[in-house]
């Protein structure tokens, strides 16, 4: 190894001896900035020489080892092929204690939420301090009430169609910034899929993840959006009565308590401000959601889960009821990448 060090040093000195005069001649003709770049490059090259002398990556434990064992030419593992298309299917059944979101006279019912989503994921782009991921997709969801009873609540059924583009900026120290633009449409289910609400939602999210232990992770997230809405208005309301901004804080702990099993307690606080809700009056809502989700990952592309969620909303608008509700259910997810 000593011999290698001397050889490496000699190579380095030789390379510098050849390079430096040539660069001096060039420097006279080139602008100073190019010279500075050359300098930086040269410093970088000299710096790169130093780890080359380290034994850390040299697989030989002693001189002559490879004569007996044979040459040990290390192979690189090719990065796996990038999957551009991501198709997800999800179905969950839950019992909600308050289907109409009322303060009193709560009606419980079963609810089946079925989701299909297709997404195009672009390979990451190297940007200063991190990587940028760009995605665009379309999602369709069916909300079917009253399945499994009690009562017939199918009048509440609706579908949601969402087209979105999203950028994720992954930064060092487990910081991620999400920028999203979604176009959501609510459609009446069972009556010709008429659109009764639509909104355009630009949003921004900042997420920080804390790896507490190998199997324990916590994340904190701030998100903010503005919803430009459009709907057939009620009396004294404009078409954009549901224009609003949401400001939310999320806290999630993910504990892998056994191989393939995750337990996730979560809490969300959301403040919503409707600037022109009814008769030129604003509206302020405070929504708190907390719950627990347990996931079992069957294989690399499917999982099942059970969950329990408690939600409470308080609003200063007289026409908007405060409510409390409890949801409990389970779901099945599958994701396919191509």
């Amino acid at each position: 190894m000593t011999r290698l060090s001397w050889k490496t040093a000699a190579l380095a000195l030789g390379a510098l001896a050849v390079c430096i005069p040539a660069r001096n001649v060039e420097a006279q003709a080139l602008p100073q900035v190019a010279n500075a770049l050359d300098q930086a490059e040269q410093v970088q090259r000299v710096r790169e020489l130093q780890p080359a002398q380290s034994t850390q990556d040299d697989p030989s434990l002693y001189p002559g080892e490879e004569e007996d064992t044979g040459r040990q030419l290390l192979l690189q593992t090719a990065p796996p092929k990038w999957n551009w298309i991501n198709v997800s299917l999800d179905s969950q059944y839950l019992y909600t204690s308050n289907a109409y979101l009322t303060t009193t006279g709560k009606k419980g019912t079963g609810l089946l939420v079925s989701t299909i989503q297709a997404e195009v994921d672009a390979p990451p782009i190297g940007v200063p301090y991190g990587q940028l991921f760009l995605q665009a997709g379309y999602q369709y969801q069916f909300f079917n009430y009253g399945i499994g009873g009690p009562g017939n609540r199918s009048a509440l059924d609706f579908d949601v169609a969402t087209a979105y583009v999203e950028g994720q900026y992954q930064l060092p120290d487990d910081w991620t910034i999400f920028g999203n633009l979604s176009y959501n449409r609510l459609l009446e289910n069972g009556s010709g899929f008429d659109e009764f609400y639509k909104e355009l939602v630009p949003s921004l999210r900042f997420e920080k993840t804390f790896q507490i232990r190998k199997n324990l992770e916590a994340s904190a997230e701030y998100s903010g959006d503005y919803r430009f809405s459009d709907e057939v208005p009620f009396p004294n309301q404009s078409r954009g009565a549901n224009n609003r901004t949401d400001q939310a804080l999320d806290f999630v702990i993910t504990w892998q308590f056994a191989p393939k099993f995750d337990l996730r307690p979560f809490y969300r606080f959301q403040y919503s401000y409707y600037p022109d809700y009814i008769a030129a009056q604003s509206r302020n809502d405070y929504l708190q959601t907390m719950g627990l989700s347990a996931d079992y990952f069957i294989n690399s592309w499917s999982s099942i889960r059970v969950f329990l969620t408690y939600e409470a909303r308080n609003s200063d608008a007289n026409s908007v009821p405060d409510y409390r509700k409890l949801d409990v259910g389970g779901g099945l997810s599958a994701a396919f990448k191509f």
Partner: protein, 281 residues
């Protein structure tokens, strides 16, 4: 009648217990020396008496085998387990077990399938195999390396942690280190072609066909691009056989294991719905 039934039950339990506790392979505490190249000697640790190793001679516990520079030796145990010893090596068999103590140097170990495998113990780690061909390298100061030629090998650290390796993979522990380095893939065909422990003896290894199959599998991985052979351009001529040390000396960007492919974080909003009122969020 009842006692007779209990007696047979007891016999049955004992038989099952005896079966479970039986030694699945005979001990490798001696072997026949089948080939000696240059300076190979056998040292009696009690008398300190050294004798030159002889072809067809027996080598067993508690003796030590010592090889000099440019020397090597091959031994075959009664169960056909083959131990090939490289240059500048000091090793011994452990009594009444299938353990080989490698103090320094290099050893190729090939245990036939179904014979109980074996364990190579060094100062810093142990390598265990079942029906596998491996090479183990060790230094006095705790340096360790396991190269798996075919089959599966297991490296166990003193703290109980272990790493599994497959054919065409190596792992090394730097002298003084307490944690092993990452598992890396090596070009098996090149190693086999240039290894004295593999091709430096008169008779081929009984597991040669398995090694050849492993080489073909690795070649396939290379052909489809899952494994990449590093190439270095020297005087505009790509030289795929340049040695690692030379690659490092030329400070070519050589990363044996690239970082895992980055993936975007799953957006929780879209698929995990834990509320019946999604438009509250």
């Amino acid at each position: 009648m009842y006692l007779q039934k209990r007696f047979y039950q007891g016999i049955g339990v004992l038989l099952v217990f005896a079966f479970l506790c039986r030694d699945f392979g005979a001990a490798i505490d001696h072997a026949t020396i089948t080939e000696v190249v240059n300076d190979v000697s056998v040292l009696d640790p009690q008398s300190r008496h050294t004798t030159p190793a002889q072809t067809n001679g027996l080598f067993g516990t508690p003796d030590l085998m010592k090889t000099g520079a440019d020397s090597r030796s091959e031994m075959v145990a009664p169960d056909q387990t083959i131990t090939r010893v490289g240059a500048n090596t000091l090793f011994s068999f452990e009594p009444k077990s299938r353990v080989v103590n490698l103090r320094e140097g290099s050893v190729l170990f090939q245990s036939p399938t179904g014979q109980g495998g074996g364990t190579i113990r060094t100062a810093s780690a142990t390598a265990s195999v079942l029906g596998t061909t491996i090479i183990v390298v060790a230094t006095k100061d705790g340096g360790f390396k396991l190269l798996v030629l075919e089959g599966t090998g297991r490296v166990q650290m003193p703290n109980g942690s272990h790493v599994i390796l497959h054919g065409g993979q190596l792992l090394f522990i730097a002298p003084g280190a307490t944690e092993p380095g990452p598992v890396r893939n090596f070009l098996l065909s090149d190693l086999v072609d240039t290894s004295r422990l593999v091709v430096g003896f008169k008779r081929p290894l009984p597991s040669w066909e398995k090694i050849r199959k492993q080489i073909l599998e690795q070649d396939e991985e290379i052909a489809i691009g899952r494994l990449l052979v590093p190439t270095v351009v020297v005087g505009n001529i790509p030289d795929p056989n340049l040695r690692i040390s030379q690659i490092q000396a030329l400070h070519v960007d050589f990363t044996p294991e690239p970082t895992p492919q980055p993936t975007p974080r799953q957006t929780r909003r879209r698929i995990v719905i834990t509320s019946s009122s999604p438009f509250n969020r």
